[in-house]
């Protein structure tokens, strides 16, 4: 589907402040294109801020201030000269709460392509169909494309949001606790979907669900209080964490 | 940043709006500077110039005060019935249609009706009391609205909690619902009073356009808003424009004072959250 190879993600000395408050401090990490990076850690540890830096959604809070370097492929994400709109087209994002627009299923998926000036009905239809198929939702919604997105179940809405993101052919997908509001069956479907798309996109997945990180990701990073404590291949991290703090967290000694 | 052209245009439009309103108020104040004085505030109007607005201030306060006091219980009763008691969907539908239509009824129509009923029908003179009737008719649906919005802002869990403890309907209303709704009620009544202060169309043919030397309920009672209109349309007084501006400034000041005080009281009445005291 994607012609361009998924880009590497390189983060060097990234710090984010909200006014006086430190959200991320001196984070350095690197993953190869096409891999799935899972971010774990207690609430408020800076995982979501990290995601919002990658597509510069962090700009929405006037108080936020970022320092350091972030590269997505060749793009310098934090450079003020970087075209944020182009960056966001290359970096899809799925949120914790299903954020399907109050439009029809079709219009939700067609929203992104239309932004880029795609007008032709047949082109839109084929884009919508292929994106929904990629998101494993097509079989459930074919023939119901004109229904409001709100009539879908929570899990279906979340896959709709993934389809919506895929329709603008991104290279990176950011998933912010995509299954936190879902039942186990829908969660399994989303995880299956992520694994099916693996390799075509670089994934950054924030999750509260440690098993999910273990099941899905290639690399896991553990954050605490804005610092990156440990990053390692997922298998190593879950079998033999290097840091004591990581072990304490993984064994549930604190939340 | 690209794609913010429309946002820029909107910012320009907003600045235009801000400048326009500042300009209106500044113009009004500027033109009034020549007449504003204690003398202007206390003395009676004069067609020969150098008059004041003393009687108008008094009439406005008396009429708006009386009309507010009368329409308050009338309006609250309607609101309490609609929110706390009415169950029949048909009644709610009819009641809401009547109150919204009544509320948006042009005030000149209220003036016409009160003129027909009270001045012609009952033979009352063009007077302060006829004007009060017009203001009450105008204010009633507004107070009902204010009451309904305030009462609907009280969460049902409050009522259920009280009823579950064995309180009667009226006890729940008095001890739980009213105190909770009070801030919104006070703020809404401030808006209602401000609306009455500025009213003129309903009063021209009910309270009249002159002031009496000796104040009485049965004498004509021109208000500030009517006086401003009169000065700027019919009066031949030499300083009519400046006096109109001065009347406008006084009127705006009274309106602002009422809104400010009711907001303050509403804020003060709000239950405070002591648990969130800063550490």
């Amino acid at each position: 589907m994607n012609t361009k190879p998924a880009p590497d993600l390189v983060v060097q000395n990234l710090s984010v402040h909200y006014g006086e408050q430190v959200a991320l401090k001196d984070v350095t990490l690197q993953i190869e294109g096409g891999q799935i990076l899972a971010l774990i850690g207690p609430s408020g540890c800076g995982k979501s801020t990290f995601l919002r830096v990658l597509n510069r959604l962090v700009d929405r809070s006037a108080e936020a201030h970022c320092t350091g370097e972030v590269f997505l492929g060749d793009t310098r994400v934090l450079d003020p000269k970087t075209d944020v709109v182009a960056l966001r087209r290359a970096v899809g994002m799925v949120f914790q709460q299903p954020s399907a627009f109050p439009f029809s299923v079709f219009d939700n998926v067609a929203y992104g392509p239309r932004l880029q000036g795609v007008r032709s009905a047949s082109r839109l239809r084929s884009l919508v169909e292929s994106s929904l198929k990629q998101a494993a939702l097509w079989d459930e919604v074919r023939g119901k494309l004109r229904r409001p997105a709100a009539s879908l179940s929570g899990g279906q809405q979340q896959r709709l949001c993934i389809a919506r993101a895929l329709a603008v052919s991104p290279e990176v997908l950011l998933l912010d606790e995509p299954t936190a509001a879902l039942d186990p069956l829908s969660t399994a479907k989303i995880e299956e979907l992520i694994l099916a798309l693996r390799g075509d996109y670089t994934f950054v997945l924030v999750t509260h669900n440690l098993q999910q990180a273990a099941r899905v990701s290639d690399v896991t990073a553990f954050f605490r209080q804005g610092r990156l404590i440990e990053i390692a291949p997922t298998r190593d991290m879950f079998t033999a964490p290097k840091c004591e703090e990581t072990e304490e967290f993984l064994t549930g000694r604190y939340e | 940043m690209r794609g913010i052209g429309w946002h820029r245009a909107a910012l320009a439009g907003s600045l235009l709006v801000g400048i326009m309103f500042l300009g209106i108020i500044a113009d009004l104040v500027w033109q009034s500077l020549g007449v504003l004085s204690w003398h202007f505030l206390w003395s009676p109007p004069s067609e020969m110039g150098r008059g004041g607005i003393g009687p108008e201030v008094r009439n406005t306060l008396v009429m708006v005060g009386a009309a507010s006091l009368i329409s308050l219980p009338l309006g609250l009763a309607g609101a309490v019935f609609r929110v706390e008691y009415s169950g029949a969907p048909l009644f709610v539908k009819v009641f809401d249609r009547v109150r919204f239509t009544f509320l948006s009824l042009p005030t000149i129509v209220v003036g016409l009706l009160v003129y027909q009923w009270v001045i012609v029908g009952l033979g009352w003179p063009l007077s302060i009391r006829s004007g009060i009737v017009a203001l009450v008719v105008m204010n009633w649906p507004f107070v009902v609205n204010v009451g309904i919005e305030a009462l609907e802002g009280v969460p049902d869990t409050c009522r259920e909690g009280s009823l579950a403890l064995g309180a009667t309907r009226s006890q729940t209303l008095r001890r739980i619902v009213f105190p909770t709704a009070l801030p919104a009620l006070v703020a809404g009544l401030g808006a209602a009073t401000a609306r009455l202060l500025g009213e003129s169309a309903a009063l021209i043919f009910t309270a009249g356009m002159n002031v009496a030397v000796h104040w009485s309920w049965g004498m004509p009672g021109e208000t500030l808003a009517v006086h401003l209109w009169y000065l700027r349309t019919e009066s031949l007084a030499p300083y009519a424009n400046a006096e109109a501006a001065g009347t406008g400034v006084v009127l705006l000041a009274v309106v602002a004072l009422v809104l400010y005080l009711t907001q303050k009281i509403a804020h003060w009445l709000k239950p405070r959250d002591y648990s969130r005291k800063s550490a």
Binding site: L57, R60, A62, V85, R88, G92, M93, F95, S99, F101, R114, R164, A165, V168 | G3, W6, H7, A9, L11, G13, L16, V17, F21, I24, D27, L28, Q31, A77, G78, F81, Y85, F95, R97, R99, F100, F102, L105, P106, I108, V109, G111, Y115, P141, T168, R169, A191, R195, G198, E199, A201, F205, W229, R232, T233, G248, L251, L252, V255, A256, L259
Partner: protein, 286 residues
């Protein structure tokens, strides 16, 4: 099962029952009286010479109301056409501010809502009418002047309601749109305004109601001519201003007094129509 109400409860129930029903009775009485007056008028003078007539000469028995209906519609139309873009501008700008600043703007606007309409009439006389006189060469008293004064008068209400409509759009939707690579303008046009189109329509209807019902600010600047206006800068009259003018010319008892009831009934019917329309748009809102 019906439980016995206590004494206090029963007493309160009766009092509020009377309060609620008397409002309904008064509302219906207003309609009935205006309808009765209109019926008397129509029986005496016929519909051709009134509702559909172009010429208004009460002393000659001609009561054409079309000039006033046209005046009301044109003046309110100008007001909405000018006020809607400005109110939307303000709303678009304000929703991007911090919640605290948005609240400040809201408070200022709710103060401006309370400015008496005669003050806007005064402003119309000292600024708008001379400006139009200077530009057009006519007297300046005109439908255009009335429309502009009304536009400014309804602006605070319209802005306040528009801001409320736009701030109800969920943050997740806005961020979802931005994350898809929508520019701020695209997010505003395709998402925020699209989602809040019914609340915005509702706001416009409420503002239209205020514009149609306003008397004094319009009367001060419109010029009060009873002929069908032939242009925006020519003077005219509206249903409300004509009621004001004719209350002294056609007192009760004079033949033709009930034309005032007719005009009032037309206004009442317009307001009722708007209330029903609002019920519909509210149902469409998300």
């Amino acid at each position: 099962m019906k439980r016995q109400m206590g004494m206090g409860d029963q007493c309160l129930y009766r009092v509020v029952w009377v309060g609620a029903f008397s409002l309904v009775v008064l509302g219906i009485a207003i309609f009935a009286i205006l309808f009765w007056g209109t019926a008397k008028f129509v029986l005496a003078h016929g519909l051709n010479q009134s509702l559909l007539g172009l010429i208004y000469e009460p002393t000659q028995g001609r009561f054409g109301l079309l000039p006033f209906m046209a005046g009301s519609l044109v003046v309110s139309g100008i007001a909405l056409a000018v006020a809607i873009p400005l109110a939307l501008s303000l709303a678009v700008t304000v929703v991007d501010m911090t919640p605290r600043r948005t609240e400040t703007v809201r408070q200022i606007l709710s103060g401006l809502v309370a400015i008496p309409s005669v003050v806007f009439g005064w402003w119309g006389l000292s600024v708008v009418v001379p400006a139009i006189r200077w530009i057009s060469g006519h007297s300046g008293f005109s439908l255009l002047a009335a429309g502009l004064v009304l536009a400014v008068m309804i602006l605070p209400t319209l802005s306040l309601l528009s801001i409320n409509a736009l701030t109800r759009v969920r943050v997740q939707w806005v961020e979802g749109s931005l994350a898809l690579g929508a520019t701020p303008d695209q997010t505003m046009g395709r998402l925020i305004l699209a989602v809040s189109r019914f609340p915005l329509l509702e706001a416009s209807i409420i503002a239209l109601g205020r514009a149609l019902g306003e008397t004094m600010a319009v009367q001060m600047v419109i010029g009060g001519r009873v002929l069908l206006p032939h242009g925006l800068v020519s003077p005219g009259a509206t249903l409300t201003t004509q009621i004001l003018t004719d209350m002294s010319l056609l007192p009760p008892g004079v033949s033709g007094h009930h034309v005032l009831d007719f005009m009032a009934l037309l206004l009442l019917a317009a307001m009722y129509g708007m209330v029903v329309l609002l019920e519909r748009t509210r149902r469409m809102s998300p």
